[in-house]
């Protein structure tokens, strides 16, 4: 794995003749988690897709650069709200999908090791339909880690999970994506405060930073200061345009 670079996003995005988000100047610190919050339709997922180099509706005018000046293509892994496991492949085959799609020979030992680390070694030959929602998302995490990319983009990856599974997955992801530059789009202030080294509130007027708590992630979501900050952040979001 190469060292995780910082990412710098500078520009604005126009869609259907209107500005989706105002000019923003955002740095995603190297090897840290940046959580992006904001109302629906403000362009959070568009921002993520732009960084991933995926096609988006509308036009982006600006630049997205890595701190090491190397191209981002091939250095990004992507995890979406749904697990995106292919139902006709086994859990193991899903984990090694990336290598197969590139026409490479997958590292089976690494895949097995990752399945063990996410607690799915015993389920490697099962089809995704036989797994629970939490297990499927763990398989998706193993697939993301198998790519061993320095930058991970997560688009509401835990939003479809029940509360306890979500908390487990947040901890597992934070542990396993340590050292990578992570951008996570979320609707949940509690999740952002728990996981983020940096918290960004995206509005039509641009991006503003919300100061994170002094303690390092993963933070205790029941600590009084976390709960108080969560209430303040929610209030800020409700007041945002």
């Amino acid at each position: 794995m190469t060292d995780a670079p910082a990412l710098h996003v500078n520009g604005h995005h126009d869609m259907a003749g209107r500005q989706l988000f105002a000019p923003l100047d955002l740095t995603l610190p190297a090897g840290q988690w940046t959580c992006v919050l904001g109302r629906s339709g403000v362009g959070k997922s568009t921002l993520l897709r732009l960084i991933a180099g995926l096609t988006c509706a509308g036009d982006f005018n600006g630049q997205i650069e890595a701190s090491d000046s190397a191209p981002l293509a091939g250095r990004i892994s992507f995890m979406a709200q749904s697990d995106l496991l292919l139902p006709w492949l086994s859990v193991f085959e899903n984990v090694v999908l990336g290598a197969r799609l590139r026409g490479d020979t997958p590292d089976k030992d690494l895949a097995h090791d990752l399945l063990q680390r996410v607690g799915l070694a015993a389920f490697r030959d099962m089809k995704p339909a036989a797994l629970s929602g939490g297990m499927r998302q763990r398989a998706a995490l193993a697939r993301t880690l198998m790519e061993d990319r320095p930058v991970a983009l997560l688009d509401e990856p835990f939003s479809a999970l029940d509360a306890s599974t979500r908390a487990d997955m947040q901890e597992l992801s934070a542990q396993m994506l340590q050292g990578k530059t992570v951008l996570i789009v979320t609707h949940d202030p509690a999740e952002a405060l728990r996981l983020g080294h940096q918290i960004v509130v995206l509005t039509a007027a641009g991006a503003t930073l919300w100061p994170p708590l002094d303690t390092p992630p993963v933070r205790d979501q029941y600590a009084p200061e976390t709960i108080a900050d969560q209430a303040a952040l929610l209030s800020h979001l409700r007041g945002a345009p």
Binding site: A52, L54, S77, F78, L84, L86, L97, R100, L101, R102
Partner: protein
């Protein structure tokens, strides 16, 4: 009750209805023969029907295989290129707008009175449903999955092979089931226009000689063949479902 029991029940009901109409109306047997008379004609002419059925079956199966292979290849090419799709699709729709009946004489002129013109008819009639159904499946892969594959730097062919084609197999199954029903129509139309063998030819011959019972026996044989083909293709289509 199993689906086979329902199928036998429906067949029995149809036969009773048919017999009742013949008995109640007293219609002459050269207009509408009774099921019993048709069965007898089928038994008496079993070798004649068998020989001609084999010819039609060969035309249908060959047409089905060639049409399906061409349809699958075309759908993959069209799904790979928007430009090709925009260029070719209007032509394909135009070919569907021309009635197959209108093409049959010219195809017979081009490909002769033998098996080739019937196979071409069957291919023409099934090519579009197979292409269209498979193309739809190939282009309806959820965007997130394709995005994920692109973020993984998947090659175009590997994304097609490992994601789009497996995802589209149920749609291909639907197209193949339609093709199994349409292919015999193409072959029989070809036989009606010009042939010296096949169930379509035998039906025309029997009709011309007022052997309505033999015509019905040939028709029922054709229907039975089509149903067998459909059941077979349905089994293949079920196996194509990836999950």
């Amino acid at each position: 009750m199993s689906k086979w029991a329902y199928a036998f029940g429906a067949t029995g009901l149809g036969l009773i209805l048919w017999s009742t109409v013949v008995w109640a109306t007293g219609v002459p047997h050269f207009i509408l023969p009774s099921p019993w008379r048709v069965a007898q004609a089928g038994w008496d002419s079993s070798s004649l029907i068998g020989v001609n059925a084999l010819v039609t079956a060969t035309e249908v199966v060959t047409g089905l295989v060639v049409g399906a292979v061409l349809g699958v290849i075309s759908a993959i090419q069209l799904a790979n290129s928007d430009r090709l799709y925009r260029l070719v699709m209007p032509l394909l729709i135009f070919t569907q707008a021309v009635p197959v009946f209108a093409l049959a004489p010219i195809l017979t002129l081009w490909f002769g009175y033998g098996m080739a013109s019937k196979v071409v008819m069957a291919v023409l009639i099934i090519y579009f449903p197979v292409t269209s159904a498979f193309y739809d499946g190939l282009t309806r892969v959820p965007r997130d999955i394709v995005d994920m594959a692109r973020a993984m730097n998947g090659t175009r062919w590997q994304i097609m092979r490992r994601i789009k084609i497996p995802h589209a197999l149920p749609s291909l199954g639907t197209g193949l089931k339609l093709a199994a029903v349409y292919a015999p129509i193409g072959a029989v139309i070809g036989e009606w226009v010009g042939a010296s063998k096949g169930l379509g030819y035998l039906m025309l011959l029997a009709n011309g000689r007022a052997k309505t019972d033999l015509m019905f026996a040939s028709l029922i044989t054709l229907a039975a063949m089509t149903i067998c083909l459909y059941v077979l293709v349905d089994k293949v289509a079920t196996r194509l479902r990836p999950d």
